[in-house]
């Protein structure tokens, strides 16, 4: 098995899976019917992407673990999702800023991965990118409306930017896995992704009259090593309960 490729694919799949799980908490609680439907649609796209990436990870690992085994029968320290994706929804504005940060990252990451020398990664990147286009437009439009909206909406999204900013360093941290795969043209060049991400985020936040926090020297990272924030345990407890309690349960 190609251990690096397994690890890399897991990171892509887990990030989509955990954000999907978080977003689906909005189901039936959206501020308006249209936004409720939008958030759950995005969750569904992400779930589909997670299924495809985790299924491929299972193939690479070759230990007869399918996407369900990987999703439901791993513990927190074995998950490789970005720390941003496990942060709580808090309010609609907070959810939007988290989505803006992650969708922008996915947009440029998948754009790079469409050229991956790994045929499966590139196929899934091409497919996912089409969907991420919608997510990014949704998150960017709402950032603009809330940031340049009322005093309260502005304050709420500014608080979200301030609080979530510390997790954005985690988006671009690279380790040996990235370096090895980049040599073979499989992984994305995170330097390029970071550059494009910064440019887009600065533009959107600026248009939305929002500011990037100035004290940003501390970045909370660790997702590559499976070091999480406390929130992951609560997500997994809910997400994994049924298949763990009733291992043979069939739909």
């Amino acid at each position: 098995m190609n251990k690096n490729l397994f690890e890399y694919t897991l990171r892509l799949g887990d990030t989509s899976l955990i954000l999907s799980q978080r977003l689906s908490e909005w189901c039936g609680h959206g501020p308006m019917l249209e936004e409720d439907i939008a958030l759950t649609n995005i969750a569904l796209d992400l779930l589909g992407q997670a299924k495809a990436f985790l299924s491929y990870a299972g193939d690479i690992e070759n230990k007869e673990r399918g996407e369900d085994d990987l999703a439901f029968h791993r513990d927190a320290n074995q998950f490789r999702n970005l720390l941003l994706t496990e942060q709580p929804n808090v309010d609609f504005g907070f959810t939007i800023i988290r989505q803006l940060f992650v969708s922008t990252w996915q947009q440029y990451l998948y754009s790079e991965l469409t050229h991956s020398t790994d045929k499966n990664i590139s196929a899934l990147a091409i497919k996912s990118l089409k969907e991420v286009n919608y997510h990014l437009r949704f998150a960017s439009d709402w950032t603009l409306r809330l940031g340049d909206g009322t005093e309260e909406s502005h304050q709420r999204v500014q608080n979200a930017v301030n609080e979530l900013w510390n997790y954005t360093g985690d988006l671009f941290e690279i380790d040996q896995v990235d370096k090895e795969l980049l040599k073979h043209g499989i992984a994305a060049d995170m330097k390029k992704v970071e550059e494009s991400w910064n440019k887009h985020i600065k533009q959107v936040l600026n248009d939305a009259t929002l500011s990037i926090p100035e004290i940003n020297n501390f970045m909370r990272t660790g997702s590559r090593k499976g070091v999480h924030t406390e929130h992951i345990g609560f997500i997994l407890a809910e997400m994994q309960f049924l298949p763990r309690a009733y291992p043979d349960a069939k739909w």
Binding site: E34, I37, K51, K119, A123, L124, I126, K130, E131
Partner: protein, 171 residues
Amino acid sequence: MVNDSLKEQSSLESSEVFQLLYAIPDPEVPVITIGELGVLRNVEMINGRIVIYITPTYSGCPAMFAIESEIITILKENNISDFKVKTVHFPAWTTDWLTDAAKKKLSDYGIAPPEHSSQIKHLRPDEVSLKCPFCQSDETHLTSWFGSTACKALYYCDNCRQPFEHFKCHH
């Protein structure tokens, strides 16, 4: 064992199986078929086994489960027991695969069909002006880019005051 099952196997050619499956209605939009939608990609005979290739419209489309089980039902009804349904992700699904006939069916059903991607490439999607499928008016506006299924957006007609769905251009 393999030979025995082959003898019982229906004598349909892969192209005939393709035609048979082509006509399965889409579970969410039953007015068009999975063939017209482009979900059914190919049918091959590999060492006496029928292999069916399908591709999802959107990654998370829950209709894929229903489509797969419908395919299996039809195959069994036609005495085909040695088969495999495979999901492929490349080439990625696009609404450009929908034929004009399929788009007409969508419109008649009350869903504004997707434009060809070449026509909207340089526009922001919300600048695309859509005709209302009920009264043909151009006085319509977008209410949400996300609708009752992953492939549709919500619109409203300012002329006949009817909300309607738009099958999003996906390319």
